[in-house]
């Protein structure tokens, strides 16, 4: 086997040094009747070209020839080639958690930079070194709020990613926590009356998303005010953090968390992604996940270490702030490289391109009789389109033209059966947008007049 460095002679010499005659003896502690007789029913061994052929075949059975207008928590952005060039350095990707700081300064300094970038983007004071993904980051934020407030109820906007809400329920189900959901207003934003009504003295936190699942940007200020009136925390989840290049961060929030896959991490069929969590300094000791801190060595030189580990499972065990151990470090490194490449100007320009593309697309789609954008509030690169009939048929027609025309919202919102969630990033060309609108027009041609386009 090509990965194994020892020759048969070396194996024999080593075995002899252990005082054993046969390799079987080393497994003597496994009772005879528990040992596998015979061989595993697995494919292989395969040579490198055979492995390549297998995965190339799988890769060909994909949507790679399609224009995709899918977003909904996973965003296709161009990844500069420098990212993979740097990630593929073995010193980065074959290292583990930087327990031994003296030979892990590369990872540690990069994580410190990542933490800094996330605080700058979110307007918060501290950020951790990553969590699994946006769904678990939102969940960890809620668990954190429960600890901080010592309360047991949370109010969650239905415009928080539906799968994030599912994960939250899985985690809190057995902790006696009550989750109340509130709806959206005609603008696509959180329904403030419902929020007001749902809040109780026992509410630990209000969880919203912005841009929300419909792509609509929330105004965090009034929501924070309502939440803070009952001494509840405001948690803002963000699944498209590129928006922060031109959208004011929710500075009123107590915890800002979410998914940073947009920052240089491939869409890759849902993972691995990059959960993040940022908050105020006063909540530091209730934060989940790893933190890198700056300090000095014995000669006074600057260096970085994992710090505040007394929150974590390896020290606190059942009393830890989270069970997370392995996190998403390499994805955080990808984001650090990506954001460094873009920089202040690039981030802003790219966000503006996304804004322009999405608004152009919305405009074009709205020229199709019967199609409209029902929500009036501002959006970034994703929006909801109302279509004349159930969306699935249109999506099939678009597929026939090699376009994945967005997400049918019926999947998560039965009341929005004739609505599609459409995302347009910088990777979608004007030609593709025009073609999409054209297919829609052809599909619906001869339709009746429908409500005019708003927003």
């Amino acid at each position: 086997m090509r990965y194994l460095p020892n020759s048969p002679a070396e194996r024999a010499a080593m075995l002899e040094a252990t005082g054993h005659q046969a390799i079987e003896e080393l497994f003597a502690q496994i009772p005879e009747e528990l040992r596998l007789r015979g061989r595993l029913n697995l494919p292989g061994p395969l040579s490198e070209p055979e492995i390549l052929a297998f995965f190339r075949q799988a890769a060909s059975e994909s949507s790679r020839e399609y224009v995709s207008l899918l977003g909904a928590g996973a965003y296709a952005h161009y990844r500069p080639v420098s990212i993979d060039a740097l990630l593929s350095r073995g010193e980065f990707f074959t290292a583990y958690t930087p327990y031994q700081a003296e030979i892990a300064q590369g990872t540690l300094q990069a994580m410190f930079e990542f933490q800094t970038l996330m605080t700058q983007l979110t307007g918060q004071e501290v950020a951790n070194a990553s969590l699994y993904d946006g769904s678990t980051a939102a969940t960890e934020a809620v668990l954190m709020a429960l600890r901080i407030t010592r309360r047991e109820r949370v109010v969650v906007a239905r415009t928080l990613h539906p799968e994030y809400r599912e994960v939250l329920r899985t985690y809190v189900r057995h902790q006696g926590v009550e989750v109340k959901e509130i709806g959206y207003a005609a603008s696509g934003r959180v329904n403030l009356d419902q929020l007001q009504a749902a809040l109780e003295r026992e509410t630990a936190a209000v969880v919203i998303q912005s841009p929300n699942f419909f792509g609509t940007l929330e105004d965090a200020a009034p929501i924070a005010e309502i939440a803070h009136r009952s001494n509840s925390l405001l948690i803002v989840a963000i699944t498209e953090p590129l928006s922060l290049g031109i959208v004011r961060p929710p500075a009123e929030a107590d915890i800002v968390c979410g998914e940073a896959q947009s920052f240089g991490v491939p869409v890759a069929f849902g993972g691995p992604y990059l959960g993040f969590l940022a908050t105020r300094e006063k909540f530091l000791r209730q934060m989940p996940g790893r933190l890198v801190g700056q300090t000095r060595d014995s000669k006074g030189r600057r260096g970085f270490v994992l710090t505040l580990a007394t929150r974590e499972q390896h020290i606190r065990r059942e009393k830890a702030t989270s069970n997370i151990c392995t996190n998403q470090s390499l994805c955080a490194l990808a984001a650090t490289i990506y954001l460094s490449l873009l920089g202040k100007r690039g981030l802003k320009a790219l966000a503006e391109h996304n804004l322009a593309k999405a608004h152009y697309a919305a405009q074009q789609l709205c020229t199709v009789p019967g199609m409209a954008t029902p929500f009036g509030a501002p959006y970034f690169n994703e929006f909801v389109v109302q279509v004349p009939a159930e969306g699935e048929e249109l999506l099939a027609a678009l597929r026939a033209e090699k376009v994945i025309g967005g997400l049918n919202l019926r999947k998560f919102y039965p009341e929005l059966a004739n609505h599609l969630l459409v995302c347009v990033t910088e990777t979608v060309s004007k030609a593709a947008i025009d073609r999409t609108a054209e297919v829609c027009r052809r599909y619906y041609s001869g339709g009746l007049p429908f409500p005019a386009c708003r927003g």
């Binding site: 086997m1 194994l4 075995l15 080393l26 497994f27 596998l36 595993l40 697995l42 061994p45 297998f54 995965f55 190339r56 994909s62 899918l70 060039a85 073995g90 010193e91 290292a95 583990y96 327990y99 031994q100 300064q105 990872t107 410190f112 800094t116 700058q120 070194a129 799968e163 994960v167 899985t170 985690y171 057995h174 959208v247 069929f269 849902g270 993972g271 691995p272 014995s298 000669k299 030189r301 260096g303 710090t307 580990a309 059942e318 069970n323 997370i324 392995t326 996190n327 998403q328 470090s329 994805c331 490194l333 954001l339 490449l341 920089g343 202040k344 804004l355 593309k357 152009y360 501002p378």
Partner: protein, 519 residues
Amino acid sequence: MDDRRRHSALPGEPGQAPSVAKDMENRIRQARPHVTRNEDLIFEVSSPGKSGVELPPLDVPTVCAEELLGKGLHRADVEGFPEVSELEVIRHFTRLSTWNYGVDTGLYPLGSCTMKYNPRINEVVASLEGLATDHPYTPESLTQGCLRILHEAARCLAEITGMDAVSLQPAAGAQGELTGILLIRACLADRGNPRKHILVPDSAHGTNPASATISGYEVRNIKSNARGCVDLAELDRALTEDVAGLMLTNPNTLGIFETQIREISSLVHARGGLVYMDGANMNALVGVARPADFGVDVLHLNLHKTFSTPHGGGGPGSGPVAVKRGLEPYLPVPTIEQSTDGSYRLDYDRPKSIGRVRAFYGNFGVVVRALAYILANGPEGLRQTTEDAVLNANYVMSRLQDVYELPYDQACMHECVFSDRRQAARGVRTMDIAKRLIDYGFHPYTTAFPLIVSGALMIEPTESASQAELDNFIEAMRSIAAEIEEDPPFVLKAPHTTRISRLDEATAARKPLLRWKPE
């Protein structure tokens, strides 16, 4: 300590007063990260007006962001954000990388973490267009390749563990634990009573009790016996009718196989509980024994350990759970199923499911890599790998046990655990030995656990260590033991050859400085 002596572990430098230890140092071939480079924070190398990317021209009409978003929502720019050219980014991160030590650099015997070789082909196939680019909500008919990979990987893992069904959703080992305990809970609740406690041996990894707590259980620790294994009498006493199950690591964190695992499982089952196995140590078992035969009801695997996916400086990982038939109805949604026409689909219609533990379908890109590893090895390669991993650990153990104390003196599986008791008598602890090992060009072993060994040195060479490299490591460990006899303060100040010396962790925690701020 004079200066030359401090640097005596650098190759080719003449040392002071010749000693056995110093001769050793010079003989032992070394691998060490770059010590001379300087590199400021990216924010400090930044200067206004630069960027490392240029966007293609915008092909749609430009918009006025401030107008579209409104004054209240619009942001002018991100204060403090770096401004650097592409070359500066490349240099910055390349230099940072040279301060790191990875498996590619040299031996990384970090116990319990299985720091094996991460084959390059895994990276290549995971980045293929189609696999790296398909969106998780792509219609099933257009993403059959991704679904097939998930299905095939799950089938392989079921075969390797002998279990009946696998969920690939958990993002890492700890989330696999949480998932597994939630499955136990759902099953017991279905039987009428979810019960209150989970038993965890005192040798367990910290994630075990932490995960059980999130699942709504109270953790009861149980003491290990003189062999470092579960004490049946103690287990018998602890197994009240409030106990939902036992979380057992096998081989355990001492690298010892729980010989009585069948009796343990039977006892737990007889009392109405279920058995969870922490499969972090599967590298000792693949192709040799299958957890299904142990009486285990559910276990997690760490693809980033046993199945060669890179640790990435702390992740991403992947922690699939494998279950027996009885727990299958409770698996997270969706599962990946094959239809009668041979096509693959996501099944959400699972009324007894515990729900989701993360968005989408798990760390797909990690699963791709693990499948590539399984295919590369085939059944014989996997078995040979296990044999080599166990042989390597036993080789290290047999050649170090005269200088380091072996608290549980018996053949080990994939790792061996020493205690620093002899060295502690000279005032040198496991972490000090670990730091000195860095000077010899090795990544240290694990120092933080198992907690039942005072001052543990947990060494897992994996199958990726050659005899030559292990001989170097063994000599280094022996040399350090000699140094401790001769000159303990020298070891206490190690490492002497790294870019920075020991860091002030106390101040870091007392006055946390967690982000860069402009002067």
